[in-house]
Symmetry: C2
Subunit: 248 residues, 2 copies
């Protein structure tokens, strides 16, 4: 299924940006009158008829709309520290989008080797991943923020969000429950998981997170890279809400 | 933790190959008498004392051994069709190793675009992934085999292996259970999951698999790429056997 993306919508008129117009008109050779599918990146699939086939700025008339298209029954925020190798984070973002995530927050920890992070490339990757995996909503990539600021910001979450921090606590004797079992006992649908950098969180960061209501969890006994831990957290939530039977 | 790999073991003598010797002696500058950790790739971690520090062929004396080191409580075979883009399969192999897999089988289906597959690169990736994620066992990458031959070969599995095929059955009205729930009702520990190519299995392949005892399962409602489906299957098994509490 061929999908385009546009956030330029006015009433029943939908304009495609440069790249999408070029792809739609020059590459796929669509012409005025053709029916095309456009996502608004917020969860809606729009069935549209092309009314202007200029390769620089095509536009289409919205005929029908399907909301929460390709959506998932939860709201997941993954606050994951940037990896040393940028490819690994981009890979994580693509996979998290395929599985189901709403918001990715690059959190910079005390032990983070990478302190700066550019969101532009990840934004592109998330857009094409959403189109490829047939989702109307494109996950949001937030600007980088320090672990401490993120903890303080989520302190005020009064919406029943389940907040978890995956931390080794190797230097403490704090027992941790598995993310699977903590999720199994949660009846809400808003979840935040925080994953640290290669060097893990600092003990201070972990303490302050727990003090602000983050539940310390483990992701099992395997030693996972940061990006794999991020995917594993996304899968844990995905499986928590997975329905048993599907009748085609 | 610094790990080396060797499959050249005679009694209490362990020889390192070219690359490992070079890395151990030239790069890390180890000298005779140093204690080093070596995995045998079959699950055992060996504490060794270096007795020959030649960069072309170092050797060490085995002082102690820890079996099933970094192991997991199940035996998982992932039969996954090669992806068009080889990087995606290599990435899948690395991640599956981190999470926990025993055997990866590249299965070529009727609808596979990639009919040939070289295992050499994946072998290298699995070795470094096992070392990086602190596992004594290196997952096996089997030579490519056709989907039909794989189905026939596993027909004779008389060891109570749970065999599943992730297939869309979009053209049939076969109800499928989720891999999560099928695993939840399984009390054994040997599991095989078969994942098809971008074009999915052919209806004939799917029918013959089901006829040979493969349970048709779904991986949830998200539309996953082949390599993501492979990881999702690995995570489903990983979570099935995950223990709740970990006391550090």
């Amino acid at each position: 299924m061929e999908l385009f993306y546009s956030n330029d919508i006015e009433g029943s008129l939908c304009r495609l940006g440069n790249d999408e117009s070029m792809h739609c008109i020059k590459v796929l050779r669509h012409r005025s009158g053709d029916m095309i599918n456009i996502i608004d990146g917020k969860g809606t699939l729009m069935k549209c008829r092309l009314i202007d086939d200029s390769p620089k700025g095509a536009s289409a008339e919205i005929i029908g709309a399907e909301h929460n298209w390709g959506g998932h029954p939860y709201h997941l925020t993954l606050a994951v520290a940037p990896t040393k190798n940028a490819d690994r984070y981009e890979w994580f973002a693509e996979k998290a989008c395929e599985i189901g995530v709403d918001c990715i927050v690059p959190v910079i920890g005390q032990y983070s080797e990478r302190k700066v992070f550019k969101t532009a490339r990840v934004e592109k990757i998330l857009t094409s991943a959403a189109k490829q995996s047939l989702k109307g909503a494109i996950p949001q990539i937030c600007p980088p923020i320090s672990v401490n600021d993120f903890i303080q910001a989520s302190r005020t979450d009064e919406d029943g969000t389940l907040k978890m921090i995956a931390y080794c606590f190797e230097d403490s004797n704090c027992p941790r429950r598995s993310i699977k079992d903590v999720l199994a006992n949660f009846s809400g649908d808003r979840i935040t998981v925080m994953i640290g950098p290669e060097g893990d969180f600092s003990p201070e960061e972990a303490e302050s997170a727990v003090g602000c209501g983050f539940i310390p969890v483990h992701l099992g006994t395997s030693r996972l890279r940061t990006e794999t831990a991020g995917i594993t957290a996304a899968e844990a939530v995905y499986f928590r809400y997975m329905q048993d039977f599907i009748y085609v």
